[in-house]
């Protein structure tokens, strides 16, 4: 009985965003039961994007490293699967018989999947090593990563021998690892596979941010210099989280490619890199929930409005992007912590106020008891 109460209390003590997580999870679980196949397909893409947003939140929200080129890692993962798929299934445009030595793992399906996780991690490890061991921080990190994604997009278009340039690569969709047509799942089942990956990524992120590592990362965000006086090496922690974040972004890239069935150069470009920043910024950074909610709400809104307005205007996206621009301005003006961030803030303030009242009350009773004793 007491144990039960304990669990209930612990459940009550959870911050408000964990309830939101639960709502999101329930929503995603029941979603396919009530909608068309098309929406199930769209939604699996959005879930892949949510994993991507989570990886950025680890880096930006928790560690304060605002990467403006996170799509490079997302795209690196996606392209590994893309190139492997094209090579194994001998797509029409492929005119190479052998892969270069560093892409050799792509000749097997599992190798490609592992490569898609390892390569982004390696990229971020290398770039991170250079940037963090020197004293590159703050806005310079953002600008270098921005330049990185600009250059990466050019690079992918340029290497058309392997990436098929602007046209991109078609990939066998709705499988995670296999490249054979027989292994394809239906939209419905694959949706739940992707969702399972989201839950896995979420749990990993949650474990990281609640561990001591996560606390140190937050301390890096708050005051990096102070942390060195406690004997920490902030650069090592930044490198670690950048690598982990890169790996998760790579996973997101793989899943996205597998839901959409193709990948092109925009997956590594500045547009996606800044779009994911917008999702996280609007949802609220530094609490995992905001990243997921932001992505979910904005992407559903875009798709839905697109289908509504497609009859009126042929090119709805241009207006939607403008709306996004105004939305960012609105958010940074009114609630700079983002939607979920603000909700958490309100709850925390409320809790603090209640606790303060309690302390005051206790001190007052103690004082009265003391004076009561004196009189007696």
């Amino acid at each position: 009985m007491e144990n039960k109460k304990n669990i209930l209390d612990r459940f009550k003590a959870l911050p408000v965003n964990r309830y939101l997580d639960l709502i999101v999870l329930v929503f995603l679980l029941v979603f396919p039961l009530f909608c068309s196949n098309y929406w199930v397909y769209v939604m699996s893409g959005i879930i892949a994007y949510m994993i991507f947003a989570l990886s950025l939140d680890l880096l930006w929200g928790y560690t304060g490293l605002m990467s403006m080129g996170h799509s490079v890692l997302f795209g690196a993962g996606g392209y590994m699967v893309g190139i492997s798929c094209a090579y194994i299934s001998k797509a029409g445009w492929v005119d190479f018989d052998r892969l270069p030595w560093f892409l050799l793992p792509l000749s097997s399906e599992i190798g490609a999947f592992l490569m898609a996780l390892v390569l982004p991690a390696l990229i971020s490890l290398m770039i991170g090593f250079f940037m963090f061991s020197g004293k590159i921080k703050g806005v310079f990190f953002s600008l270098i990563t921005l330049a990185l994604s600009g250059v990466a997009e050019l690079f992918v278009i340029n290497q058309s021998k392997y990436t098929h340039g602007n046209s991109g690569i078609s990939v066998i969709s709705r499988t995670v690892i296999s490249n054979s047509k027989e292994a394809r799942l239906d939209d419905f089942t694959f949706y739940y596979v992707v969702l399972a990956f989201l839950i896995l990524a979420y749990i990993i992120c949650l474990m990281i941010v609640n561990s001591r590592i996560g606390k140190v990362l937050q301390a890096v965000r708050e005051n990096e210099e102070r942390l060195t006086f406690f004997g920490y090496k902030p650069s090592a922690f930044k490198l670690l989280i950048y690598t982990i974040s890169g790996m998760i972004a790579g996973l997101a890239g793989v899943l996205y490619v597998r839901t959409q069935g193709n990948i092109n150069s925009s997956a590594v470009g500045i547009t996606l890199a800044t779009l994911v920043l917008v999702w996280v910024a609007i949802g609220g950074r530094g609490n995992l929930t905001g990243a997921m909610v932001g992505t979910l709400v904005l992407q559903i809104a875009e798709t839905k409005l697109n289908s509504v307005f497609s009859g009126i205007s042929a090119d709805f996206t241009q207006y939607w992007k403008m709306v996004l621009g105004f939305l960012i301005l609105l958010i940074v003006f009114t609630i700079p912590k983002g939607i979920v961030g603000t909700i958490i803030d309100v709850q925390q303030k409320h809790k603090d106020r209640r606790q303060k009242e309690k302390i005051l009350l206790r001190e007052e009773t103690a004082y009265h008891e003391e004076s009561g004793k004196h009189i007696a």
Binding site: F130, V139, F140, S142, I270, M322, G325, L327
Partner: protein, 289 residues
């Protein structure tokens, strides 16, 4: 590997360096003196190019006056933006990045909606080609070098020789103290930001004849201008001059022998390597912060 080819590459690299200097000047000033990263900078280049198209190619206003008008229009637009938006976010890095990014998408999408995806073209104001031995160069590029130098000189004079410049520098050094001296730092901020935006407009108008004018013009300048700022640092305009030259000469030489994408990659690596050892930029004032 012949000398004349290398000479040709070096000279065209030099012209590109001046052009890069011109296009990054506004960005550097806003970042150096106000600690604000203006992500809308490259969209201002795009706006400047469109202004040039309408004034010069459509209304046939003389080119020099077009440039001045482009500066003024963007100057006042900058003033408006500063008053309405930027002013509220001083000292908040993520917020300014997001806000200026918001402005940049709005500008870009506005251009897309108004002008569509078609390309506009502006004729060279001067169409002759300049010869020097086996090296040739379009005269207009030489004019651009001159414009770039004039803009740099004017900015240096504004910052170092005028009272306004003194106020700008003192606001950067110590805002509270400057306010205590009775200087309206908000006005100083407003002027600094507007000047930076004006320079972006001027640069956009000046490069308009070189490129196809379209809504996505800004994107193509994004990487180079921001790499330039990162490498040059913001504490000295000479850092920007030097890094413009390093970046563009490297791009010019490498793309001469290989291709432009390899050049971009190599330059990015050079930038990261240099910034690794000089995180504050190429020329940093020594001493206690």
């Amino acid at each position: 590997m012949n000398a004349s080819l290398i000479g040709q590459l070096l000279v065209s690299g030099m012209c590109s360096a001046f052009i890069l200097l011109l296009t990054s000047l506004g960005l550097v000033i806003i970042m150096g003196y106000m600690k604000i990263v203006n992500l809308a900078h490259t969209e201002m280049l795009m706006s400047g190019a469109f202004i040039c198209y309408y004034l010069y190619a459509v209304l046939h206003i003389p080119f020099v006056i077009t440039l001045i008008l482009a500066y003024l229009i963007c100057f006042f637009f900058g003033m408006l933006l500063e008053r309405v938006i930027i002013r509220h976010f001083y000292g908040k890095m993520s917020e300014t990045l997001l806000a200026t990014y918001g402005i940049s998408i709005i500008l870009k999408q506005l251009a897309l909606i108004v002008f569509g995806k078609s390309y506009k073209q502006v004729e060279y104001p001067v169409s002759t080609v300049f010869h020097m031995g086996s090296i040739y160069i379009e005269s207009y590029k030489l004019i651009l070098c001159a414009i770039s130098m004039i803009a740099l000189a004017a900015t240096l004079i504004l910052i170092n020789k005028t009272t306004m410049g003194l106020k700008i520098r003192s606001t950067t050094q110590n805002r509270t103290m400057t306010e205590c001296l009775g200087i309206d730092t908000r006005k100083v901020d407003s002027i600094t930001f507007s000047h930076g935006m004006g320079l972006a407009g001027l640069a956009g108008a000046a490069i308009a004849p070189l490129t196809a004018i379209t809504y996505s013009l800004g994107e193509s300048w994004l990487t180079n201008t921001f790499m330039n700022v990162v490498m040059g640092g913001v504490s000295s305009l000479f850092g920007t001059v030097a890094s413009s030259f390093i970046i563009q000469e490297a791009i010019s030489l490498i793309s001469g022998y290989s291709n432009s994408v390899t050049a971009q990659i190599v330059v990015l690596i050079i930038v990261i390597a240099i910034v690794r050892f000089k995180p504050e930029g190429l020329f940093t004032p020594k001493g206690r912060r």
